[in-house]
């Protein structure tokens, strides 16, 4: 794939690396290589397989197929400790330091050999920490407690650890996500210095500007496959976006029949400082599927939590059918006709230790059991109806939630909220981690619900899903609803709005 003069052997090569999680194919044969002294950017939508690729490189996951070659050595059983020995270091978005220990102690813990009876040479430890901090250009005291440091300072400590460990391959996973532009500049200087000292850097970011400022080459992942590696000099912003999303929306999505309805839910200047939701204005109509797109952390789940009373709004108005409401708790939101199918179904959507029927009736206790007296027959019957209607594959209504596959858990979570007969249904990543078959079934169910007059808000990081299902598409970025696009928009427009291409040129 590379042209030009013969290159020295790469620091790291992945050949046809593949990884499945249950039925989900996270990586389907990815080729990737990293040269000494280059910054190689890794780009892709949420769920394209970047994290999985990183975890394979750092030894956290074993690939199901394919080959990892580090410094000419083909490795079959790469473990995190072996990766460390081979000089692979990873710097995560959230630094993993011990907050109550000092900088020198944290560095010492990473670099000094372990041994319970070993004496600690405190002055040597301090001196070494000081040297490393100076090398990465960090103006920090080795004696400072890590909890007193800012996020970028902590990242510098992590980088110092990587340098101290003699890392030849450094993975940086969205390192600038929480940095100001000045902190970002300082980080870039450090990265460039690492590069000139011959370290290979794998740099993951959603911000295209950074990739153009910093990277030498860029590999784009899509649906677990590499769609190409390019020299950054030879590609444009638009070209990259096209690579990221460049596929046809498949025709499997059921067609919309929405023609207009009364406004069911309206938001006026809704703010929630605690969760970063900022001046959101929005109106959703009965029968409409309103897709909510954006990058992870753009504030979509946070907005859903505000609506559902989990983190109540501090300012602005929320109206249901023209009537102002202020849900202060999920219980209150449910009573107002709101339903929220949460993103993390194993923690919030389904109680894994309880059977399906109890999970389904959990949100309708007051209606199904008006005297608080359980009527197990009625419960069972209701559960059986939902199991049939939503085609939940299970041993019966008494099967535990934890015994179901992801897609069937999602159906149970959905059933719980349909049982409340809501006016507004908020779905958060309804098909994340769900196999293909269950995915199209869930899409069909969502479409039917909208047809029956529900107002649906569908949060999704799956761009084809957003494009295929939505009647309108709202795009969020940094807690704000930055654009509302028609349902027939193309992937390029949505991705550009999510990345903030138009509005933020030259702002950083």
């Amino acid at each position: 794939m590379l042209s030009g003069p013969p290159t020295p052997p790469p620091l790291l090569t992945l050949r046809r690396a593949a990884k499945n999680f249950g039925g989900v194919r996270a990586l389907r044969g990815v080729d990737f290589d990293l040269q000494a002294g280059e910054v190689h950017a890794l780009l892709g939508e949420n769920g394209a397989g970047k994290s999985t690729l990183i975890k394979i490189i750092t030894g956290a996951h074993q690939p199901d197929a394919g080959e990892i070659i580090v410094a000419g050595r083909s490795l079959t059983g790469l473990t995190p400790s072996l990766a460390q020995q081979l000089g692979i270091a990873c710097i995560y978005q959230q630094p993993a330091l011990f907050p109550d220990l000092t900088v020198a102690e944290n560095i010492g813990l990473r670099l000094e050999p372990a041994g319970s009876m070993r004496r600690i040479n405190w002055s040597l430890r301090r001196q070494r920490a000081q040297e490393l901090l100076t090398r990465v250009g960090a103006d920090l005291s080795p004696e400072a407690e890590v909890r007193t440091l800012s996020m970028p300072e902590q990242q510098l400590v992590e980088i110092a650890c990587a340098v101290g460990a003699g890392a030849r391959i450094v993975v940086m996973d969205e390192p600038t996500a929480s940095l100001t532009s000045r902190e970002q500049d300082r980080l870039f200087t450090v990265v460039r210095e690492l590069r000139s000292s011959g370290v290979g850097i794998i740099y993951i970011s959603h911000r295209l500007d950074e990739i153009f400022a910093l990277a030498d080459r860029v590999t784009v992942l899509r649906d677990g496959e590499s769609v190409g590696t390019h020299a950054v000099r030879a590609i444009t912003h638009a070209g990259l976006i096209k690579l990221m999303v460049g596929r046809e929306v498949d025709q499997l999505y059921p067609p919309t029949e929405f023609t207009g309805g009364e406004i069911v839910l309206e938001l006026r200047d809704v703010d929630c400082a605690a969760s970063g939701v900022n001046h959101v204005n929005l109106a959703v109509r009965a029968g409409e599927i309103f897709g909510l797109a954006g990058l992870v952390g753009a504030g979509r789940t946070e907005l859903a939590r505000v609506l559902f009373g989990l983190t109540p709004a501090d300012r602005g108005e929320i109206l249901i059918q023209g009537r102002p409401i202020a849900p202060r708790s999920p219980a209150a939101a449910v009573a107002l006709g709101l339903a929220y199918v949460p993103e993390d179904r194993r923690r919030h959507g389904v109680v894994l230790e309880l059977p399906i029927d109890q999970n389904i009736t959990m949100a309708i206790h007051p209606r199904l059991f008006p005297n608080a007296w359980l009527k197990l027959g009625a419960e069972q019957k209701l559960a059986l109806d939902f199991i049939r209607d939503l085609a939940v594959k299970c041993a019966g209504p008494q099967a535990l939630g934890g015994s179901l596959s992801g897609g069937n858990q999602q159906k149970v979570s959905l059933a719980r909220w349909l049982a409340t007969q809501p006016k507004i249904l908020i779905l958060d990543e309804p098909t994340q981690g769900v196999d293909v078959g269950a995915k199209s079934e869930i899409h069909r169910i969502i479409r039917q619900l909208a047809k029956a007059g529900l107002a649906v808000i569908m949060i999704s990081s799956d761009l084809p899903e957003i494009l295929g299902m939505s009647d309108r598409i709202g795009v969020m970025r940094g807690g704000k609803l930055t654009a509302i696009l028609p349902g027939q928009s193309d992937a390029h427009a949505v991705m550009a709005a999510a990345l903030g291409q138009e509005s933020e040129k030259g702002a950083a």
């Binding site: 109680v351 309880l354 959990m362 949100a363 206790h365 608080a372 007296w373």
Partner: protein
């Protein structure tokens, strides 16, 4: 829990934890009946096998039994209440003072005592739900607080006695063949069983125990439900205080000292998971019975009488029984863990 999936359902229900515990209880009882009963020189039956002794066991286990009933919903929500024994002491003193010094009639004093119990539980509930403090710490605090209050009221010296015989009837007489407090205990058992197993409230205790976040996301009123289990525990502790006072005929500040630990042991021995969610009132009842029979039965064994060490040996065996039960319950989970974490080849 112990049964595998592919066994027929009758076998599965037979192999459940409660049945095993019942078997242990029966065996325990038969052993004590066999070795602990004898005939004295006059030809009378003495020891474990006498009806009087059996009623004695019942009488002595009602207060701890009530506390164990109170703790079952608490532990189902993955909470704990260490203060019930101290609250029992405080309520006994409050009752004695209201009747003796306050000049109130017995029914009014008893009713007010139940209110004080509810307030004690309410204090726990408020601290746990409003301030989101861990139940262990909150009730460790009120454990000392309630006992301290009881001692302050009596200045560590006063003991209220001379209760009217109408009240003592509650703790010392039989009614329709059984000791009076056994009827009360039975009534409370039925009520708590209904609450835990037949109402949406009991259902939500389990959900909260398994997953407090999941309960919140499902729109369940988590704070209100958690509050109610602690308030209920307070009321039941007050009821136990009344029975305790009636049984001994006196109210003193050290009433119920250490009872909370026996009660927790009984609940856990009864199969209720200390991590919340799992458990039953039937199990608690069997747990209470197993401990009570063990404690009293040992005191009838000739060898124990010769050693004069009934307390020590019963403590030893209760602890051993609890550890065996916990280990037995944990084995399936442990095997599953081993299977899941088998090193990859």
């Amino acid at each position: 829990m112990i049964a595998a999936k592919n066994q027929p359902s009758w076998l599965r229900s037979l192999l459940c934890y409660e049945t095993l515990l019942l078997a242990v209880l029966v065996i325990e009882w038969l052993i004590f009946y066999h070795y602990g009963t004898s005939t004295n020189r006059r030809g009378h039956l003495v020891g474990f096998g006498t009806l009087d002794r059996q009623f004695d066991i019942l009488r002595h286990s009602c207060e701890i039994g009530l506390l164990a009933l109170a703790l079952t919903p608490v532990i189902l929500t993955a909470g704990i209440d260490l203060s019930v024994g101290s609250l029992l002491g405080l309520c006994a003193i409050v009752f004695g003072k209201l009747w003796h010094d306050g000049g109130l009639s017995i029914p009014v004093a008893a009713a007010l005592t139940l209110v004080v119990g509810a307030m004690g539980g309410g204090l726990n509930a408020g601290l746990i739900t409003a301030l989101r403090l861990p139940p262990l710490i909150v009730t460790l605090g009120t454990y000392s607080l309630f006992r301290g209050l009881a001692e302050a009221i009596t200045q560590g010296a006063v003991t209220y006695t001379d209760f009217p015989s109408g009240f003592l009837f509650l703790g010392q007489e039989r009614w329709n063949g059984l000791p009076m407090q056994a009827w009360l205990f039975l009534l409370m058992t039925v009520l708590v069983w209904i609450l835990v197993h037949r109402t949406t409230w009991g259902r939500s205790f389990r959900v909260i125990g398994f997953s407090p976040e999941g309960a919140r996301y499902a729109g369940l009123p988590v704070e209100r439900r958690v509050s109610i289990v602690y308030i209920l525990a307070g009321i039941i502790a007050a009821l136990a205080a009344l029975i305790y006072t009636a049984r001994l005929g006196q109210a003193k500040a050290d009433a119920g000292t250490g009872y909370e630990l026996f009660a927790i042991t009984a609940v856990v021995l009864g199969g209720t998971s200390i991590f919340g969610g799992r458990g039953s009132v039937t199990g608690t009842l069997l747990g209470v019975a197993a401990i009570a029979v063990l404690k009293n039965g040992l005191a009838c064994l000739p060898v124990v009488i010769r050693l004069n060490a009934a307390e020590e040996i019963s403590g030893l065996l209760t602890g051993a029984l609890l550890l065996v039960a916990l280990t037995g319950n944990a084995i399936p989970t442990f095997l599953k863990y081993l299977r899941a974490h088998r090193p990859a080849r």
